[in-house]
């Protein structure tokens, strides 16, 4: 009976899917919210590993970021450059807390707050920054990506103007 490994795999997949859905809180119920949460987790992991391609993979090609206190908007290329500069100069660590996630159709929304620690590689004082964010997600060819983000740092002192 060669089919049993496939049947077992399908059964396990269905079980995992059911468990995943059940684990999502009411406000964020549903598989899309769980996927967005996972994508956010991937972004955080990439940030803490200074993995710029991994960070950018979560962003749409036409991603736009607005940062409070800075004129104009940043696109994906500018954000990638900024991350590269930051990671070249600092050991960084981010802790993100997701406050709300919602998705409907091919659109998702999440918001939360963060704490980033920048430790200069060449020595010097560690910078701690806190802030909050809102992200709009789009489902692009079956993959959730951030299309737009607002970044609201609670105080100035960020190492680079654009990030």
């Amino acid at each position: 009976m060669r089919a049993w490994p496939y049947l077992l795999a399908i059964s396990l997949s269905l079980l995992l899917a059911a468990l995943t859905c059940a684990a999502v809180p009411a406000d964020g119920a549903g598989p899309d919210q769980a996927i967005i949460k996972a994508r956010m987790g991937r972004w955080v992991d990439a940030y803490n590993q200074a993995d710029v391609p991994g960070l950018l993979d979560v962003l749409s090609a036409d991603y736009v970021q607005d940062t409070q206190g800075l004129p104009g908007s940043s696109d994906k290329r500018a954000v990638g450059r900024a991350f590269s500069h930051v990671f070249a100069k600092y050991q960084t660590h981010i802790v993100c807390v997701l406050d709300q996630v919602y998705a409907s159709g091919g659109m998702g929304f999440d918001r939360g707050h963060y704490t980033i620690t920048y430790t200069p590689k060449s020595g010097g004082k560690t910078i701690v920054e806190q802030g909050h964010y809102v992200e709009m997600w789009g489902l692009e060819d079956g993959v959730w990506r951030v299309r737009y983000e607002t970044d609201i740092p609670e105080q100035s002192g960020r190492p680079l103007a654009v990030m």
């Binding site: 736009v64 206190g69 908007s73 998705a103 409907s104 159709g105 659109m107 809102v134 709009m136 789009g138």
Partner: protein
Amino acid sequence: MPLKHAIPAAAILLATLVPPDAGAIDASGPGPDLKALQQRIDQWLDGYNDGDVARMMDVFSIDFTDEIQGTPGELDKARVTQAFRALFAKYHTQIDGVTDELRASGDMAFDRGHYTLTLTPKAGGATITQQGRFLEVWKREGGTWRVQHIVDMHDPAPAP
């Protein structure tokens, strides 16, 4: 409520008042939904022009939240309503708003753009001009589009 809170709250809402330039806006979604969203914006405009705060605030969800620069945490619907009443009591207001992007999918939508707000004190004094950007997240509740969350980022004041 301090004025610094009242101005952005008003600005973010007023920014949706100016009908978007169809040639400039980056829009996607079902036409009926985009039309319905525009009607909700118009409702807010009519309410504003009539000084009808209740009609204005009907556009916003009961659990609406507003994140404003310089304000820790969030403002809820009651506080934003108070801010509008206080603002209209003290100022003649005018805003030029531009919607840069409007997208709808399923029961969700968002629009973002930028604005210039001018506030002229009714009691006399210098006119205040404020520029900034906004994001509004919409949710369809029982068939009606309502704003669930707003972010207002006002631009740095120009050097004197």
